[in-house]
């Protein structure tokens, strides 16, 4: 800051994004999380290019090959093969795509539904608000996996139903956050000013108030990503989510269970992939929370 400033020009304040980045990068854990997330996204986008084999091709001459660094089966498959001879590395890479899609779809569904219900509850107090919030309390009374299992029991097992189930499970968090943020904003002068200027309810909801409620929602959406990946893997593991031969991490683990004594890699590696991705989104979410909203800091 030693440069001589032109007295006529005030130094421009940093934009909101620059400021966010400056706070975010102070948190080393958050940067590591972000780096892993970027790597996961690249993996998912370029899965067809970087996966050495097809995720469903079965090399029947090479079932349960050990990883390349163990001097057993040679270097043909870097992370070994599964019980029917599919390349574990390729399945993990394609599983990344699946996990991110699961996260994107369920968080997207839950976020849009939750924001809508939260805005309604925040704007129209009274009967509607009580109905919505009571309903959310009932959903919160059940632990997430139990509720997801209940929803899957109704809809039937499968990847799509698992995503709906996870979206329903996460809904109350978004509704409560949105409503709380809306109620905080509604008391402020700029909303009253906009109302006096003649803005209709819909405009007030989506154009005036909603953008100012974004910070906690972004944080919750990031953390929701990790919850979605974890719950989808748990449902897949229980046989209630993605069905084989889909290369989903949880169902990969479940189908390799009987080989736990003979082939450690078919059990260890999918779980490691789940842990690393969940951890990355949690680290990033914590960092975003600290950077976006000092009030939420714990």
């Amino acid at each position: 800051m030693s440069a001589v400033l032109d007295p006529g020009v005030a130094p421009t304040p940093p934009g909101p994004l620059t400021e966010l980045w400056r706070d975010f990068k102070r948190n080393r854990g958050a940067i590591i999380g972000l780096a892993i997330v970027i790597a996961l996204v690249l993996c998912a986008l370029l899965a067809d290019l970087i996966a050495p084999y097809s995720p469903s091709e079965q090399y029947r001459d090479a079932t349960l090959h050990a990883p390349a660094w163990e001097p057993v089966n040679g270097h043909r498959f870097l992370l070994g093969t599964d019980p029917v001879g599919r390349d574990v590395l390729s399945r993990l890479i394609h599983g990344t795509r699946l996990s991110l899609v699961i996260g994107l779809v369920s968080v997207g569904l839950s976020l849009s539904g939750g924001v809508l219900l939260g805005l309604l509850a925040g704007f129209f107090r009274g009967g509607l608000e009580i109905t919505i919030m009571r309903l959310m309390d009932i959903m919160l009374a059940l632990p997430s996996l139990l509720l997801a299992v209940a929803v899957v029991a109704i809809l039937g097992p499968g990847l799509a139903n698992a995503m709906y189930a996870i979206a329903i499970v996460m809904l109350p968090h978004f509704v409560r956050l949105t409503r709380a943020a809306v109620m905080g904003e509604l008391a402020k002068d700029y909303v009253a000013a906009s109302r006096i200027a003649g803005a209709g309810t819909a405009r007030l909801m989506f154009d005036t108030v909603l953008p100012n409620c974004a910070a906690p929602l972004i944080v919750q959406a990031t953390l929701g990503f990790s919850a979605a990946i974890l719950d989808a893997a748990a449902l897949g593991f229980l046989g209630l989510g993605a069905q084989p031969p889909t290369p989903e991490w949880g169902s990969m683990l479940a189908s390799a269970l009987e080989f736990i004594q003979s082939a450690w890699w078919v059990v260890t590696l999918p779980g490691l992939a789940i842990l690393v991705s969940v951890l990355a989104f949690n680290l990033m979410g914590d960092g975003l929370r600290d950077a976006l909203d000092p009030k939420l800091k714990r």
Partner: protein
């Protein structure tokens, strides 16, 4: 105090009704007609169909059916399992002690490790110790416990051979079920080998199930402790010349534990949900494993009853925790 308890109790009723409604609609939303499913391939006459419909009470309006369901559920009648033809309530109750035993041991482990870890992390803030506790806690919080359980089996059962892989006790011990809790029953049988066997079966599942509550409790204790350590009364206690042990143990800890108690209560839900995964991995004969099997066998009365009962347990525990909260924190009663 009494009106606080009453108010809190009144809030439970709509939640319970909502859950019965959800569980009741579980059957209604299922595709297929239960009476037609009974008829088999030959089909049935229209007259017989109507009679069966009447017998099951399915010809009455939905709200009447719901009220009847509610009435029966309140009396512990949750219908019969379509696979074993046993009353669902009985099936649940006989398996529940196994889940309670596992959950209590998991929670005990989480508390014994989590509380001191959180306190130490807060006292040694921004040191390597603090960072490692928080790093471990975040990893534990992100852990897919079904995989964590498998890793424990792989290490301690398969490679080292220290603990058995599954079940509650070795098959050579035939322990009469007095309380349903294997640890207690095997102690009562006064066979030291049986007790040892029960303990060795319990350790790994308890670690797997306790990991997430442990991580949450450590994090919560640390942040709550940090907040309390900044309070004026802590500074006053220090200024008076009280020893660090006294300041932390007597002045700070009691107040820091208030939010932690709530967290512990909330973890009961996590434990019951985690039991679904843990029991499946370790073949632990509790309600989690039973529920998953019921879903796979399409035993819908069992699924319904299991979900309703688990939800009820969680609601009751949360109610008790809220009341305890009012007892240890008088400020909340006077809002």
């Amino acid at each position: 105090m009494f009106s606080f308890l009453l108010k809190r109790f009144a809030l439970v009723i709509p939640t319970f009704l909502g859950i019965t409604l959800l569980v009741f609609s579980l059957i209604r939303l299922l595709p297929g007609d239960p009476v037609e499913a009974l008829s088999g391939e030959r089909g049935m006459t229209d007259e017989r169909y109507q009679r069966l419909l009447h017998e099951f009470g399915l010809d009455r309006p939905l709200w009447m059916q719901y009220l009847e369901y509610l009435w029966r559920a309140l009396h512990g009648d949750l219908g019969y399992s379509t696979i074993t033809h046993e009353p669902v309530f009985h099936e649940f109750i006989t398996r529940f002690p196994a889940t309670i035993e596992l959950s209590m041991c998991a929670m005990l482990m989480a508390l014994v490790i989590g509380l001191p870890a959180g306190i130490v992390a807060a006292l040694k803030r921004n040191t390597v110790l603090d960072y490692s506790v928080m790093g471990a806690s975040l990893t534990g919080y992100s852990m897919p416990i079904f995989w964590w359980g498998l890793l424990l089996i792989l290490t301690f059962s398969v490679t080292l051979g220290w603990t058995p892989v599954s079940g509650r006790i070795a098959i050579q011990y035939d322990i009469p079920a007095v309380t349903g809790f294997m640890l207690v029953d095997s102690l009562l049988s006064s066979d030291a080998g049986a007790f040892k066997s029960a303990v060795s079966h319990l350790i790994l599942p308890a670690i797997a199930l306790g990991t997430i509550p442990l991580a949450v409790i450590a994090r919560m204790t640390r942040s709550s402790m940090l907040e309390v350590l900044r309070e004026d009364y802590v500074r006053t206690a220090r200024a008076k010349g009280a020893s660090t042990l006294r300041v932390v143990g007597v002045h700070a800890l009691r107040n820091a534990l208030i939010p932690v108690v709530t967290t512990i209560g909330l973890q009961v839900g996590t434990l019951l949900a985690g039991a679904i995964l843990t029991e499946t991995i370790f073949s632990w004969p509790g309600i989690g494993k039973w529920l998953v099997e019921a879903i796979h066998r399409r035993d819908y009365p069992a699924v319904q009853g299991g979900i309703l009962m688990s939800a009820t347990v969680i609601i009751v525990v949360n109610l008790v925790v809220d009341m305890l909260y009012g007892v240890i924190n008088p400020r909340i009663r006077h809002q």
